[in-house]
């Protein structure tokens, strides 16, 4: 290597596609190669022996000059990146020397080299990185643009959510007015025709509200804004209450809804009861809608797995029109119905099942359907729950253990379900499928063997009341208690059944808790019963359990919308509360300031969106700045039309105690008022 001729080395240096400059200790140029000649003002050995700062613009006082000094004095090598020093030296693209638009993007290395004369030189190597810079600039621009679009999309999404929240508020406020007013209207004296019209208007408004809720839910799910709550609740009573309320609708069509909860082994669970209700309501609603005759079975069971999760499986089985096999797969897609004509005949948005499916998935479950066209459908879904450590609120007293009961019902499923449930609580059950069979069985056993007979009203050949009359004819059965189950509740029923000799009557589908309570009352309170009410009904049971009578309170209603004021006022007056109205937060605070010490407000109902001072600000003020402890601790219940994620949290965070979504449900309102009045006393 050492003996390579100098001119070969010289040529190769000149052929390099990078700039080479050598300077000596005094920073005088010793050498520069052809590349430098091609790209700078230096040519024909001009500048050789001159100070580099004098002949190459950009060198003086630059980091490059410092680096040369460091290399020459301390021997430290330096790398100058393009990012911090883009174009330090006056180097240009070929044929554009002197034109600053064509300055070369540089990356420079500086190092010290030892020469044979024992004197070190500094070598400056210049790389042209123009094309890399151009490429990266383009990539960066693309990436930035991408990021900008992303931010824009996020903003648009937030705007959409806000729009939805606003729309929800805007639509719900007048809906609240309509529903509330109709509700009040129905309590006035009306002609039969007016009652009919009012009922139609109410049901239309109800439907509209359902559709609105569906659309809102759907958009919330789409936006990933729907949160599943995790609360402790009683699965059994949740399902019982739900099916009970759903059966109202089915009764119009004489359909029987049978709730089979014998497979439920975990009564207290952690999950979202509201969303579970929503799923079942939707599926049962569909079943009722598409079934003309027969029965709808709601069958639920829980299974605890090894990881400590509970799988709740619910099947809704109907005897309706069924679904053609080829439509089953698309059934859960949004905006899909079996065929367009169904929409016209049965109504609906086509969003229901899509929402149900997504709700199941949100709760880590799934849904499936099987159906025989013309014979009925079976929708099965499962969701994940967690076991709760809480005790069920109302565990029936097990004083009924060993009691012998005869159940008479022509519907086999019903018979089975009811028997199984009563067996769980230790009762001994004998089944009869008709009145005749019941009479034969009663005859076969000892006359005091059965304590009770549970009789279905609607049976072919011998109806429930006929059977009752037959039993009552036999003297030795005088102490036998009879309980009537009927799907058709009518006014005057209580008196009618009492006269016939029934001790109690309950509406189907029967809630096991209610049935057990009823049986207890009949057996234990024989005396009380005779002296008070002629017959035990569900309402009587409910009223027995109610400890405190509904209190009457002085309430401050803060609401800016005049119609909503009237609605709330109507409901509150109906319950006997005395009410003052404030039109916004400021007005409310004024009234609270001025209130008399002897007769203060006991509760505030607070609208959230109001002009001048909204409900959140007003609550914060009341909680923080009002001196009197009577005022600062007063229960405040929010009434809001916003039902988006976080609303509830926002209400509670501002210091409110509770939250009620509009349109105001009068029953729920009264429950909340009672709850907070009793806790604040």
């Amino acid at each position: 290597m050492d003996n390579i001729p100098k001119d070969i080395l010289f040529h190769s240096l000149n052929d390099l596609s990078l700039g080479v400059i050598l300077v000596d200790q005094k920073q005088h140029i010793v050498f520069y190669n052809q590349w430098i000649k091609d790209h700078s003002a230096l040519s024909d050995n001009k500048g050789l022996g001159c100070n580099i700062g004098d002949v190459l613009e950009g060198f003086r006082d630059s980091r490059l000059s410092d680096a040369c000094t460091e290399a020459l004095t301390l021997g430290l090598p330096t790398k100058l990146s393009n990012t911090f020093n883009p174009t330090p030296l006056a180097l240009f693209k070929k044929r554009h020397i002197g034109d600053n638009n064509y300055r070369i993007q540089q990356q420079i290395s500086i190092k010290n080299i030892n020469t044979c004369q024992d004197e070190s030189l500094c070598e400056i190597l210049i790389h042209d990185v123009s094309s890399s810079v151009k490429k990266e600039l383009m990539l960066k621009k693309l990436a930035d643009e991408n990021k900008k679009q992303q931010l824009k999309a996020e903003l648009a999404n937030r705007t959409k959510s806000r729009f939805l929240a606003n729309m929800s508020h805007e639509i719900r406020t007048p809906m609240n007015g309509v529903l509330g007013m109709l509700n009040l209207l129905s309590t006035t004296n009306q002609t039969q025709e007016q009652v009919h019209f009012t009922r139609l208007a109410e049901s239309s408004a109800d439907t509209l509200l359902h559709i609105l809720n569906d659309i809102l839910d759907f958009s919330k799910i789409e936006a990933g804004k729907l949160v599943v709550e995790l609360i402790d609740y009683d699965l059994l009573s949740n399902l019982s209450d739900l099916v009970q309320s759903l059966s109202m609708k089915s009764k119009e069509k004489q359909l029987e809804i049978i709730l089979d909860v014998t497979g439920i082994e975990h009564q207290m669970v952690i999950g979202d009861p509201g969303r579970l209700r929503q799923i079942i309501t939707n599926l049962v609603g569909n079943a009722v809608k598409f079934t003309q005759e027969g029965e709808i079975i709601v069958k639920a069971q829980t299974i605890l797995d090894d990881s400590g999760n509970i799988t709740l499986t619910v099947s809704i089985i109907d005897t309706g029109i069924g679904i053609p096999a080829d439509k089953c797969s698309t059934l859960f897609d949004a905006f899909t119905q079996v065929d367009v004509s169904t929409t016209r005949e049965y109504g609906g948005t086509g969003l229901g099942l899509s929402i149900v499916k997504q709700l199941c998935e949100l709760m880590e479950g799934s849904i499936s359907v099987s159906s025989v066209f013309g014979q009925g459908s079976r929708f099965s879904f499962n969701i994940q729950l967690k076991p709760s450590t809480e005790k069920p609120l109302s565990q029936p007293n097990i004083s009924l253990k060993g009691i012998k009961v005869l159940i008479v019902d022509d519907n086999h499923t019903n018979l089975e379900v009811l028997s199984k449930q009563l067996c769980i609580f230790g009762l001994e059950v004998v089944q009869a499928e008709s009145g005749n069979e019941a009479l034969i069985l009663l005859d076969q056993y000892d006359s005091h063997y059965f304590s009770m007979v549970i009789i279905d009203m609607q049976m072919p050949k011998m109806s429930g009341d006929t059977l009752c009359a037959e039993i009552r004819k036999i003297k030795s059965f005088d102490s036998l208690k009879l309980i009537m189950l009927t799907s058709m509740g009518q006014r005057g029923d209580a008196q009618h059944f009492s006269k016939l000799g029934f001790s109690a009557y309950l509406l189907k589908p029967v809630v096991i808790k209610d049935l057990l309570n009823t049986m207890e009352v009949i057996i234990d309170n024989d005396q009380v019963l005779k002296s008070t009410v002629p017959l035990v009904t569900r309402h009587y049971i409910a009223s027995l359990q109610e400890v405190i009578k509904t209190p009457v309170a002085k309430i401050l209603l803060v609401e800016d919308n005049r119609i909503n004021q009237q609605v709330a006022l109507g409901i509150l007056n109906k319950f006997g509360h005395s009410v003052d109205i404030a039109v916004n937060g400021i007005n409310a605070i004024e009234l609270l300031d001025k209130q008399s010490v002897d007769d203060p407000y006991q509760l505030i109902l607070m609208d959230c969106q109001m002009p001048e001072m909204d409900g959140y600000a007003a609550t914060e003020h009341i909680r923080k700045n009002m001196n009197s402890s009577v005022v600062s601790t007063i229960p405040i219940i929010a009434m809001t039309a916003n039902t988006m994620k976080g609303d509830k949290e926002r209400c509670l965070a501002s210091g409110m105690n509770d939250y009620l979504a509009k349109p105001i449900n009068s029953k729920l309102l009264q429950e909340k008022i009672n709850h907070w009045l009793s806790t604040s006393n």
Partner: protein, 207 residues
Amino acid sequence: MKDKLSPLEIDALTEIFNIGIGRAANALNKMVSQPVDLTIPQIEIVPNKTAKAKLNFASDIEISAVTQRFDGDFKGQALLMFSKESGLQLVSTLLGNKFPAEALSELEQDSLVEIGNVILNACFGTVINFLKSSIKIEMPEFIQGDINKVYVYSSENDWSLYIKVKFTLPHENIEGFISFIMDITSLEVFQESVRKFVFGISHKNEG
């Protein structure tokens, strides 16, 4: 290693490195628009194994490092190390990037090399100026990988000069680590130079 450095010697070493690193900060401030302050809160001479453990980089953490080899009175490898995130953050802050990227581009990698070069050169300059050592230093290089790829030494018996560097930027502080990995003989020479330097100072003060 024969003897450890005394606390006074360590103090002196910390002080001269802080002077050197201060010069690096000056150089960096000339390069970028954001003010940067560099300080060395801690210097130690420890076995390589200990130094590696002190770095506290989990084995799944990606490290960006700048390295320069040196030879002469003592020989070894100097490393400036950041976690990949810190390296990215430092570069984007200094370059004033609006949207920090997920990885360094090739040119940005060069900027990290330049930053490392400035800092390591400052350390080398200190050693050469104060300790009157003669060493030859190589061009800086960029390495990326986990700790086992970046922090390499030939013998368990080797020692390193472990330096923690704190970068104080307008909105955040970033930590980097410098290690001079040396063999045992080099380290003895190095310590000897430190002792001579401290002796020289205290001698001067007495006189």
